[in-house]
């Protein structure tokens, strides 16, 4: 099958690759770029394990073609920590026991960071709604919600201090 060249920014770095038109973004990330943080739980856009941030929006990368990301700006879980320092969400997930098997975690974290950018002070109901595209089979969500609330608070305090 004919291949296409794509160029995009992933976690702040310019990358290029050659893909088939049908190559899914998740496969491009995992198999060509070796970014295996985002996972595949369904390939039908239900579970959210593959969630990444594309051009300022949460997307399920199992239902985006790699060519659609051409020229785009992408953030994955691997790009969350900055300068060796964990993102407040990462720290809160560990502190509040917001993960068990860890399979949903990368997608959950990337989704949560977008949610908090859109709404820095979400209520519990808003958080639950905001992560409803991401399934977790282990935690029952309660500690994930708690972690996101706590991270939001830390982030607001940081913001205020700056």
């Amino acid at each position: 099958m004919a291949k296409t060249e794509i160029k995009l920014t992933v976690n702040g770095e310019e990358v290029a690759g050659t893909v088939e038109p049908r190559t899914l973004l998740i496969h491009f990330l995992r198999e060509q770029l070796n970014l295996t943080g985002a996972h595949i739980g369904c390939e039908t856009s239900h579970c959210g394990a593959c969630t990444v941030d594309l051009n300022g929006k949460s997307v399920k990368s199992c239902t985006v073609f790699a060519v659609q990301a051409d020229g785009g700006e992408l953030l994955t879980v691997e790009g969350l920590a900055q300068g060796g320092e964990l993102h407040p969400l990462q720290a809160a997930f560990a502190e509040d026991h917001g993960l068990q098997c860890g399979f949903c975690t990368p997608g959950m974290l990337i989704r949560a960071q977008r949610l908090l950018r859109e709404n820095p002070d979400p209520s519990e109901a808003e958080i639950r709604w905001g992560i409803s595209g991401n399934l977790c089979r282990c935690t029952g969500y309660q500690n994930i919600v708690k972690a996101i609330r706590n991270a939001a608070q830390v982030m607001r305090q940081k913001e205020a201090a700056e």
């Binding site: 088939e20 049908r22 190559t23 496969h27 995992r30 198999e31 070796n34 970014l35 295996t36 943080g37 985002a38 996972h39 595949i40 739980g41 369904c42 390939e43 039908t44 239900h46 579970c47 394990a49 994955t76 879980v77 691997e78 969350l80 920590a81 964990l86 990462q90 997930f93 560990a94 502190e95 026991h97 993960l99 068990q100 098997c101 860890g102 399979f103 949903c104 975690t105 990368p106 974290l109 958080i127 639950r128 709604w129 992560i131 409803s132 595209g133 991401n134 399934l135 977790c136 089979r137 282990c138 935690t139 029952g140 969500y141 309660q142 500690n143 994930i144 919600v145």
Partner: protein
Amino acid sequence: MSETQTETQAETQTETQTATTAEREAALGGIGCDKRRKEDARFIRGQGNFVDDIKMPKMVFGDFVRSPHAHARIKSIDKEKALAVPGVIAVLTADDLRPLNLHWMPTLAGDRQAVLADEKVHFQNQEVAFVIAEDRYAASDGIQLVEVDYEELPVLIDPKKALDDDAPILREDVKDKDEVGQGPRRHPNHIFNWQSGDKDATDKAFDGAAVTVKEEMFYQRVHPSPLETCGCVASMDAVSGRLTLYGTFQAPHVVRTVVSLISGLAESNIRVVSPDVGGGFGNKVGPYPGYVCSVVGSIVLGRPVKWIESRIDNISTTAFARDYHMSCELAADKDGRITGLRANVLADHGAFNSHAQPMKWPAGFFNIVTGSYDIPTAHVTVDGVYTNKAPGGVAYRCSFRVTEAAYLIERMLDVLAQKLGIDKAEIRLRNFIKAEQFPYQSCLGWEYDSGDYTTALKQAMKAVGYEELRKEQAEKRARGELMGIGIATFTEIVGAGPSRNCDILGIKMFESCEIRVHPTGSAIARIGTKSTGQGHETTYAQIIASEIGIPSDLITVEEGDTDVGPYGLGTYGSRSTPVGAAAAARAGRKIRDKARKIAAHMLEVSESDLEWDVDRFTVKGVPDLSAAMKDIAMAAYSNLPEGLEHGLEVVDYYDPPNMTYPFGAYICVVDIDRHTGEISVRKFYALDDCGTRINPMIIEGQVHGGLTEAFAIAMGQEIVFDEIGNVLGASLLDYFLPTAVETPHWETDHTVTPSPHHPIGAKGVGESPNVGGVPAFSNAVVDAFAHLDVTHMPMPHTAWRVWQTCHDLGIDK
């Protein structure tokens, strides 16, 4: 010095001693603290290593051609077009595996299962051919072009018709056998008949009973659906003749044995590795055709072969759970004291008997069905049958068939209460096994280790304000509103198990732990289980820390690599804590025994002069004279008494003397909209007693997760088939996995009744919330209709079904 002064001094000294002891204890991070998890560091960075993350040079990708039919004869398979697809390397069928005798594989239940369909397909989506290609896209192109010609056969979907004289015979390969691994059978579609209890005594109890109740209940077919599906990478090194098999295995050592048995390779030439596993819940215990085909592919091609299930493959082919058609009767006196129980079950096992239970237990531990109640006589029968459905019958977040049993007895208690007009909490209090009756011998043969059910239920009732809730319910009923209160006071049986009655393929269900203490005072421990999210790297380290006095932060825990750890039977049936943690504690004690000898040598006293104090041995009566574990570790390699071997390492194989019996008291409150059938869970309170608590934070997390899975099962999960065997809804569009929006808020609580026979008194908790949660939800829903003489409603309680009940009762307008 006056007497008073001496006393004061002594007191001060004890105080400082206590303070430092507490400090040293805190520094250990041992049993009982909310230690944050070691494994999280990699997961929150996206650095976990799951099987699909594995990449190897020259690795290829395999996937299945699957049957569209539930029952059909294969007339021909044409691979030509598929093999012409660029990137497709090979297409394997049963005929290719036959010369190797690998077209069938043994199941853990003594039956056999087709690896690739041999002449016939027995369920929809059964594996027919394995296409191996350079990448997953080419494999999927190839799959489209494999042409299979089928002749459709009559389909058997309803297990109640399986034993009819004119039922189609499904398993022609075993049709003449009078048993298929689990005792005598009476029809070609019959798998086993299993009984427990005393039939005559039970009949007698019913004959003389003041009151009897009977209910038919169907515990629907569901699927564990961990977020990560099953998969593997098989890599045969043609030069060394060594096979490495990475995969989503809850029991890697057993997989190695199975692979050896079916491939003929020596176990020493097989390395099985479970990397990080994205949830198991029973889905990842048994062997699947994908593993066998990948291994064969790798042997034939000399290249690593990866196979990863899609979600639809996962739900429709590997490891369903439940599918029990149950009928139950209780006999009782006029006060509701149960005098007898009778249960008959028809178990739909699908096309092959591939359930994963200890081998002597075709119906698992279903005879825990007398639950938390002092029932003097009971009789239980379970018949397993074949149907044209996917094989399985695994323990989905429960110990073998315990959830079916707990659901049945907890529902039946409510049915009896309603018949007699007794409160549903009261009927439980009247029938509970009393605290002073432990150890308790159940009439179906189990010895319950410990429990205090009355205290647990009373604590739960108080916490939720039970009396007020019942008052509110009465007021609402008077206004025509629907409110339900569901109680479940379940007892589990976990930790398989004692070698006298638990084995898999003849291998006893022990667990193992190896500990090596390094010279500078840190340690590594290896256990035969495998965490699939339970946090073993943290909790085992906590247990060992408390036993050997080395901080848990300095104890590395490894599991899941058969080249590295000692043989163990794996993680399922909540056995890691009852069996694995026991091995860890005992290994720790063996380390301490040797450490005591070394300490005696260091301090130049006799061993009997020493006492253990958190992280050191001190000389009795001379607390200042002590040898810390850190120094003992160095001495083990540098300064030994004569006659002692160097090093500080042990292995312990633990054969549990009994199962453990965790229990709980759950109360659920629901409000139901009679116009739409929608249920809202107002409150869910879960009190769990899992004995000694190793890490309360992790326990709570386990309870949240288990309750959420219980919620899913009770409220929405069901794998349905149409009459010709099509799976209706095997994608996440149809199969219910709750999101954060539907999932209720959980309130957790606990009592602590340690297990008397477990080295640290722990019982296991991961599955309790699922076992107790399902009947709590179901009881709440039915309770909302109890005043309208409804005694049972089938799960799952979807809005549509509940509305149907409202409609039939004429209350939906």
